[in-house]
C-alpha cells in the first residue's frame, strides 16, 4: 500500500464519476438518493443541489450528518477486484450568498445540464464538509483518509 498512490486513486474515482449515492438520516430508516456532485481539489468539500421540497432536504435539516458513496464499477464480475468504492462521511450545510454563487459555478462546470435546475428558487445548494473517506478496493481492502 502506498499513501500517494491511494490518494491518487481516491481522487481519480471522485473526479472521474459525477453521480453518487447520498445517504441521509430519516426519522427511522436511512434514506438514499442519486445526486450529481462536484468535489473540491483538496477533497475537503463535496457539493450537490436538491429541491427544498425533497425528503433528503428535510432529513438534512433535521440531521446534517450524511454519507456520499461513489464507485467506478462497470457491472461485470471483474468489478470485485477492479472497482473502487468510496464513502465520504461529513456534515451538510445549506449555502447562501457568495459561497453559494462560488460553489454553484463549480457544480455546474462539472454538470452543465444542471444550470437551469440550480437557478430555480426552490433548489438549495449544499456543501458537505468531509471528515473522512473510506475507500474499499480489491474486494476487501479498506483505507481511511481523515480530512483535517
Amino acid at each position: 500500500m502506498n499513501s500517494g498512490a491511494s490518494l491518487s486513486r481516491i481522487k481519480t474515482v471522485l473526479k472521474g464519476q459525477g453521480l453518487g449515492i447520498l445517504a441521509t438520516r430519516g426519522e427511522v430508516y436511512p434514506y438514499q438518493n442519486i445526486v450529481s456532485y462536484s468535489v473540491s481539489g483538496d477533497l475537503k468539500t463535496m457539493t450537490f443541489a436538491t429541491s427544498r421540497a425533497s425528503m433528503k432536504y428535510a432529513n438534512i435539516l433535521r440531521c446534517p450528518h450524511v454519507a456520499i458513496f461513489v464507485d467506478n464499477r462497470k457491472n461485470t464480475e471483474q468489478d470485485l477486484i477492479d472497482a473502487v468504492g468510496i464513502t465520504a462521511l461529513g456534515d451538510a450545510k445549506e449555502l447562501s450568498g457568495a459561497e453559494e454563487r462560488r460553489w454553484k459555478r463549480t457544480l455546474t462546470a462539472r454538470h452543465p445540464y444542471l444550470e437551469e435546475f440550480v437557478s430555480t428558487p426552490g433548489v438549495a445548494l449544499f456543501a458537505v464538509r468531509v471528515k473522512v473517506y473510506y475507500a474499499v478496493s480489491r474486494f476487501q481492502d479498506v483505507e481511511e483518509l481523515v480530512m483535517r
Binding site: 500500500m1 499513501s3 477486484i81 481492502d141 481523515v146
Partner: protein, 712 residues
C-alpha cells in the same frame, strides 16, 4: 461458437480458439506428420464452463487478494490450490458434456487418452510456458478423462503459471485454456528432441526414456541423451544416464539405434522448417512408427525469463520418491548431527576462553551456522513440499469444500516447540501456585521445588533456553507470570475430526493402494512437523554463535581486549551472519509514505490469507526486533514480519497472529494452527500499517485484519 473441433478440422486462423499447442499439432498433421488422432476442447468451452459455474468472480477474488508482484511463491501455490479446488468442484454444462464425451468415447473406444494443455499464451515465440500447465497421460474411462480436463483448465493458474505471469508482468486473470484430447500412443521409447541445443546452441539434442515420456517430462527418470550434428549424416554422440553410465555402452545405446536417432533428428528439423523457429518436439516410437506428440518453440532455456529465486522456488516441488530420500537423510543424519553440533558448542563456555580462543570459536561457529543455513535451504525447505504434495492428492481425491482441509490431518501436536511450551506451561502453573515463588525463579539457583528445577534443566539441555545468566532467569520469571496455565490446545474435537478425515482420505484409494495413501500421509505429517522443528534446531545453533558474539562484544565494550585480538574480534563481529543476529529484520519493502502536511491515507482493513481459523479481537503488539517478543502480553495480537525460531516460545500467549510473510504452510501458520490461534498471513504492510496498541480484529476464516481503533 464451437466448443469442440477435431484436429484435422482446425485451421491456421483458429489459434485464438484452440491455443498454441493444438494449432501446431493440427498444422503438423496437415503437413503429413504422424500425429495421434484427437480433437480440441476450445477456449470457448473453458469460458462457458467458468460462467456456468459462476467461477469468473470467485477466481477474480482469489487472484485479487494481493497484487501478483507482492506474492511469494508459497502464496501462489496456495492460490493455485484454491482455484484448482473451485474448478474441480464445477460441473459441465449438459450440452458440453454430451459433445465432449460423445467424441471421447468414439475416439478412444475404451482405450487410454492423453489430455494436454493448449493455452492461448502457450508456445508463442516469446514464452513457451514449457511444463507450466498440466498434461495428463494414460487416462482411462469417461470420468477420469473429464476430471483431467478440469485439471488442465485449472492449470491456467498453476503456481508456475502465476510465477511466470508475475515475472513477465502479465495480468494473472488473463489468458484462456483449450484442451487437446488424443488417443494415447503407447510407444516403446519416447522422448524430446531440441532442433537446436537450448544450452550450448549448435547441434540437435535428443533425450529418450523407455516407455511413455511422462517420467522424462516430470524429471523422475534421467534420460539417455544423443547430440546430433545438423545436416544429413551428421556425427552422433551418446551419453547414458549417470545411473547406468557404468553399464555396457552397447546395451544402453541400444535404446535407440543410429538410424532411429537420425529419424528423430529429421523430425525436429522438419518441425523447425515448418514453424520457422527452433523447436522442442515430444515424440514416441511405436514399433516402426515415429509419432509427434507436440511441438513448441524453444525460447531459450526452460527457466527463461525467471529470476534465480523463482527457479529455486519451482525446484521445491519434489516427487514422492525424492521426498522419501530427503526424509531418510533429515531424520537419520541431519537432525542428529545438528543436535550433536549444538551440544558440543554448549559445552564450550565462551566466558572461559581467552580472547584468541574466543575469536577462533566465533569463526568456527559462524562457519557452522553458514553450513547449516545452506542445508536448511537445500534440504529442509524442499522437504516442506511433502505437505503440499499430500494436499494436492487429498484435494483431487476427496474434493473438499475447503482446499486447506488437509492441513487438519497433518497437525500432530508433537512439534518440538509444543513440547517446549508444555514444559513452560507446567512451570507457569507451578509458579501460579507459589511453588516456587517468582522471586526464587528470578534469583536462579535451586528454587526448592525439585520438579521445577528439573524442568528448567530440561529447557537448557534440550532447548538451550536458560543459561546461567541471571538476566535469563529474570526473563523466564516474567514470561511464566503471564503465560496461560496449561498448554493451549487446538480447536476442540480436532483429533476426532482428523480421524474422520483420515478415514475419508483412505477410503478413496482402492484397497490394494491404501498402503501408499498411508505412506503419503505419514510423509506429509513428518514434513509438516519438520517446518517447525527445523527452526528449533537451527535456533539452537544460532543461539550458541550469539552467545560467543555477545561475550566478545561485552569484552570490547568494557575495554578488556587490546591490540590484534581487538581488531580480529571487531572484524568477526562485523561479519554479516554475526551482526545479523542482532539486527531487526526489515519491516517489509512497502509501507505507507508519511507525507508531512498532506492528507494521509491509512489502512483500515488489510487483506491477507486465512492461515488459522477463528476470529479474535485484541490490542496489537508489533514486533519488529525478535527481542521485543518478551513484551507480548497475554491475548494481544502479535504483528510481525515472520515468526522466527527465537519467537515461537512466546507465541502461545498471543490472542491472534498477523504476519507479513504469506502462506498456509509457513512456520508461523503451522505454529498458529497447532495452538488454535487465529492467524492471517501475507499482509504486506502488517508491521508498518499497524501500530502497537491499535484495536484489531483478526478474521482467520476470511484472512482479513481490521483496525477498529487507533490510540490517540
Amino acid at each position: 461458437m464451437w466448443l469442440f473441433r477435431r484436429l484435422e478440422d482446425i485451421k491456421d486462423t483458429d489459434r485464438d480458439r484452440v491455443g498454441g499447442k493444438a494449432a501446431a499439432l493440427a498444422l503438423l498433421a496437415k503437413k503429413g506428420g504422424r500425429v495421434p488422432p484427437g480433437g480440441c476442447i476450445t477456449v470457448q468451452a473453458f469460458r462457458d464452463f467458468l460462467s456456468f459455474n459462476g467461477l469468473v468472480g470467485k477466481i477474480a477474488i482469489e487472484l485479487g487478494r494481493k497484487e501478483l508482484k507482492d506474492m511469494r511463491w508459497e502464496e501462489m501455490w496456495d492460490a493455485s490450490q484454491r482455484i484448482r479446488n473451485l474448478v474441480n468442484g464445477g460441473t459441465f454444462p449438459p450440452d458440453m458434456l454430451r459433445e465432449i464425451t460423445s467424441f471421447a468415447n468414439t475416439l478412444l473406444g475404451g482405450k487410454s487418452a492423453a489430455v494436454r494443455s493448449s493455452s492461448l499464451s502457450e508456445d508463442s515465440a516469446s514464452a513457451s510456458y514449457a511444463g507450466v500447465h498440466e498434461s495428463c497421460v494414460d487416462v482411462k474411462g469417461e470420468k477420469a478423462v473429464m476430471e483431467s480436463v478440469l485439471h488442465v483448465w485449472a492449470s491456467l493458474w498453476s503456481d508456475a503459471a502465476l510465477l511466470y505471469k508475475k515475472e513477465l508482468g502479465f495480468d494473472p486473470a488473463s489468458g484462456g485454456m483449450a484442451v487437446i484430447l488424443q488417443k494415447l500412443v503407447r510407444g516403446e521409447v519416447s522422448g524430446v528432441v531440441f532442433s537446436l541445443d537450448p544450452v550450448r546452441g549448435g547441434g540437435i539434442v535428443i533425450e529418450a526414456v523407455p516407455g511413455l515420456n511422462k517420467r522424462l517430462v516430470d524429471g523422475r527418470t534421467e534420460p539417455h541423451r544423443w547430440s546430433v550434428e545438423r545436416g544429413s549424416g551428421g556425427r552422433i554422440s551418446y551419453s547414458p544416464p549417470s545411473s547406468s553410465a557404468k553399464r555396457s555402452g552397447k546395451k544402453t545405446a541400444g535404446l535407440l539405434k543410429a538410424e532411429r536417432v537420425r529419424e528423430v533428428a529429421r523430425l525436429a528439423l522438419s518441425a523447425e522448417k515448418l514453424f520457422r523457429s527452433p523447436q522442442d518436439v515430444e515424440w514416441t516410437f511405436r514399433k516402426k512408427d515415429l509419432f509427434t506428440l507436440q511441438s513448441r518453440p524453444i525460447t531459450t532455456t526452460p527457466d527463461a525469463g525467471l529470476s534465480k529465486r523463482s527457479v529455486f522456488d519451482l525446484s521445491l516441488k519434489r516427487s514422492f520418491e525424492n521426498l522419501l530420500e530427503l526424509r531418510r537423510r533429515i531424520e537419520g543424519e541431519l537432525l542428529p548431527a545438528m543436535a550433536e553440533e549444538t551440544r558440543r558448542m554448549r559445552d564450550e563456555d565462551p566466558d572461559e576462553m581467552s580472547d584468541a580462543e574466543l575469536a577462533r570459536e566465533i569463526e568456527r561457529r559462524t562457519a557452522v551456522l553458514a553450513r547449516w543455513n545452506r542445508t536448511y535451504w537445500n534440504e529442509f525447505i524442499p522437504y516442506g513440499h511433502g505437505a503440499r504434495l499430500f494436499g494436492r492428492v487429498y484435494n483431487d481425491l476427496v474434493k473438499p469444500r475447503d482446499p486447506h482441509e488437509f492441513v487438519e490431518l497433518l497437525r500432530t501436536g508433537r512439534t518440538l516447540s509444543m513440547q517446549r511450551d508444555a514444559i513452560l506451561a507446567e512451570m507457569s502453573a507451578m509458579v501460579s501456585r507459589g511453588k516456587p515463588s517468582l522471586m526464587a525463579v528470578r534469583k536462579g539457583g535451586p528454587t526448592g521445588a525439585a520438579r521445577f528445577d528439573a524442568l528448567r534443566k530440561r529447557l537448557f539441555s534440550q532447548f538451550g533456553m536458560i543459561s546461567g545468566d541471571l538476566e535469563d532467569h529474570r526473563k523466564l520469571a516474567a514470561f511464566l507470570a503471564k503465560m496461560p496455565f496449561g498448554p493451549r490446545k487446538g480447536k476442540p474435537g480436532g483429533r476426532a475430526a482428523a480421524a474422520g478425515l483420515e478415514k475419508r482420505f483412505l477410503s478413496r484409494f482402492p484397497k490394494k493402494d491404501r498402503r501408499r495413501g498411508l505412506e503419503l500421509l505419514d510423509l506429509a505429517r513428518s514434513s509438516y512437523t519438520m517446518r517447525d522443528d527445523d527452526n528449533v534446531y537451527l535456533a539452537g545453533i544460532e543461539r550458541e554463535l550469539k552467545k560467543a558474539a555477545d561475550e566478545a562484544r561485552r569484552r570490547k565494550d568494557e575495554g578488556l581486549v587490546r591490540g590484534g585480538s581487538k581488531r580480529t574480534l571487531s572484524a568477526l563481529l562485523r561479519q554479516k551472519l554475526v551482526s545479523g543476529l542482532h539486527k531487526p529484520p526489515a519491516r517489509g519493502k512497502t509501507g505507507l509514505a508519511r507525507e508531512r502536511g498532506a492528507a494521509e491515507v491509512r489502512a483500515k482493513q488489510l487483506r491477507g490469507q486465512p492461515a488459522s481459523k477463528g476470529i479474535v479481537r485484541g490490542k496489537a503488539r508489533v514486533v519488529v526486533d525478535p527481542g521485543q517478543i518478551k513484551d507480548l502480553e497475554r491475548g494481544e495480537i502479535l504483528v510481525c514480519d515472520s515468526i522466527g525460531p527465537e519467537m515461537t516460545y512466546a507465541v502461545s500467549v498471543a490472542g491472534g497472529i498477523v504476519e507479513r510473510r504469506g502462506g498456509m504452510l509457513i512456520h508461523g501458520a503451522i505454529v498458529a494452527r497447532e495452538y488454535g490461534i487465529p492467524c492471517v498471513t501475507g499482509v504486506p504492510d502488517a508491521a508498518y500499517a499497524i501500530r502497537t496498541g491499535d484495536d484489531l480484529t483478526v478474521d482467520g476464516y476470511l484472512g482479513v485484519v481490521t483496525i477498529r481503533k487507533r490510540p490517540m
